[in-house]
């Protein structure tokens, strides 16, 4: 890397910040501003909010984020390998293949444990559902 590669990125950040800052400031100066208590209340389809925002989310969001961390790490390794795959030959392919199989296994485990089912009804689909009359016939 050379500093020349990153100079335009720094300039783009400055330009983006400058553009945003100036236009937000100008809009703030020009546009009308007469707040009323009703206007500033949290949006609730026109009625008065009865309760605070939900402060708790399903734990599945956490599992998905965790799975994402794992796949992100994998992607970084795969990129590093793919750039130089010619040098590593079949040994490299074997190493990456084993790594990926282990990750597929991780995914299969999470899948099997139902962490990827977002609908409760879907998660319970393996519960044996036997109609009463069928049960009598079987007996």
């Amino acid at each position: 890397m050379t500093p020349a590669d990153y100079l335009p990125i720094a300039l783009m950040v400055l330009l983006g910040l400058g553009f945003s800052g100036v236009s937000l400031w100008m809009s703030w100066r020009i546009a009308p501003n007469n707040p009323t208590p009703e206007k500033l209340a949290p949006y609730e389809c026109g009625i008065v909010p009865l309760q605070e925002p939900v402060q708790r989310f399903p734990v599945k969001f956490y599992l998905v984020a965790m799975l994402f961390v794992i796949f992100d790490v994998e992607i970084v390794f795969l990129f590093a390998w793919a750039v130089r795959m010619d040098e590593f030959g079949w040994a490299g392919i074997a190493a990456v293949g084993i790594f990926m199989l282990l990750l597929l296994e991780t995914l299969a485990y999470v899948w099997k444990r139902g962490a990827l089912d977002w609908n409760v009804s879907v998660r319970r689909r393996y519960r044996p559902v036997v109609a009463p009359d069928l049960e009598e016939e079987a007996a």
Binding site: Y6, M66, V73, A91, L102, L103, R113
Partner: protein
Amino acid sequence: MHVSFEQWLTEIANYVFAALAIPTLVGAWMVVTSTNIVRAVLYLVVTLAGSAALFIMLGAEFVGWTVVLVYIGAVIILFLIGIMITRAPLGSHEELSHPATVKIPAALLSIVLFTVVAWAVADAFGGLAIPPDVGATRTGQLAEVIFQRFVIPFEVVSLVLLSALVGGIALARKDEPEEPA
């Protein structure tokens, strides 16, 4: 290798370094002193972004962007979602600040840790200069090290990741007890 302060001031790279290092340190300070847990996590983003920029400045582009992708883009998001799913206070919370009996040993411990790490780094790499224009080879060098010298640790990494997820699921399952068969 000794550099006088006047010499230090003539090098542009030193100013860039200072511009990156100061926000990194301030961010780190705010992470531990903030009483709002979401703010603390966002200050951690500042610190990580600063360290990523320092990696890039040292010529380790691949490592720098990996820090952004994996730490800022994934791990911190995991923290944020973790805060959202627990009943952790979203607003400011005084309990996050510990009494002096905890603060002082913690401060001493971090000073000792800092000294040890700083001494080790200075001892190992103190006299080395960063060769200019090495970006193109660094990614390849990194790949060589991972896939030739450290193949076994590389494979073990996937097992570590698997065990992390098993733990996560074990924690999550307590939330929803198994249906009786």
